[in-house]
């Protein structure tokens, strides 16, 4: 029982946290990219900094998840980030989510699943 919690539940929660962090990170990068900034003062753009911290910081829970769970279990879960990003871009950026986009994302997720199955 404890083994199941450590090997499955814990990595799942950690990957969830990682993918949500990554999705918000990319959302903030998008917010930040709208402002006119050149490379010199890119670090004065707060939204870009928040984006970097969240996007880069998402590797910490991800690596922790890899410590507890197996790679072939943790990897397909990272495909969740595409779901979060799609939802966030609809909610905060009012982007159109077409049928083809949904279909494409599902195909990418299956593709990632197959790739991680093959890396057992």
């Amino acid at each position: 029982m404890v083994k199941i919690i450590i090997k499955i539940l814990l990595p799942t929660i950690l990957v969830m946290v990682a993918t949500i962090m990554g999705a918000f990170g990319s959302l903030y990068l998008k917010f930040g990219s709208k402002k006119r900034t050149d490379i010199k003062n890119i670090f004065k753009n707060h939204q870009i900094i928040i984006g970097f911290v969240l996007y880069g910081g998402s590797t910490v829970p991800f690596i922790a998840a890899l410590k507890f769970g197996e790679l072939s279990f943790v990897y397909p879960l990272t495909a969740l980030s595409y779901v979060w990003v799609t939802l966030l871009s609809k909610k905060y950026l009012k982007e159109r989510i077409t049928k083809n986009k949904v279909l494409g994302i599902i195909m990418i997720m299956i593709g990632i699943f197959l790739i991680s199955l093959s890396s057992k």
Binding site: S26, K30, S33, K34, I106, M107, I108, G111, L114
Partner: protein
């Protein structure tokens, strides 16, 4: 008859006006994000090589130049991602991050002498088809 045409024209003008509100994803943005994933995957490869060359010792890894090459590639990749996001939809651009899986597969054949299984090829193919579906539709605006 005249009335019909003008109605049609009106609807076309209306459509065009609506389209202006949709930020389309430009070709340049897609090329930028593709280069970004390529650099990020090369960065991952340098991390991997840095780790194996320093025999998985965390202390020794910090003295390996390959680690810093990896960090540099990651940084450039992030700048390119921001530039791509500037000209495109997040939901389109972000899906291209999945290309990383494909680059890493190719690098593992080339540099790590790994073999790619049929299952992996199928996954790669699905990702490519998915990306084509996403961009095709987003460029049409609908």
């Amino acid at each position: 008859m005249k009335n019909k045409i003008s109605k049609k024209q009106k609807s076309i003008i209306k459509e065009k006006k609506n389209e202006k509100h949709i930020i389309r994803t430009s070709k340049a943005a897609i090329i930028l994000v593709i280069i970004c994933t390529l650099l990020t995957s090369l960065g991952q490869l340098s991390y991997k090589l840095a780790l194996t060359k320093s025999e998985n010792s965390i202390v020794r890894v910090f003295f390996n130049p390959l680690l810093y090459l990896g960090l540099f590639l990651y940084f450039i990749g992030a700048l390119l991602l921001i530039a791509a996001l500037k000209q495109g939809e997040l939901s389109t651009i972000y899906s291209f991050i999945a290309l990383g899986f494909i680059w890493v597969s190719f690098f593992s054949i080339k540099f790590l002498n790994e073999r790619i299984s049929v299952l992996r090829w199928a996954g790669i193919l699905l990702i490519i088809i998915g990306l084509i579906l996403i961009t095709y539709r987003s460029n049409k605006g609908g």
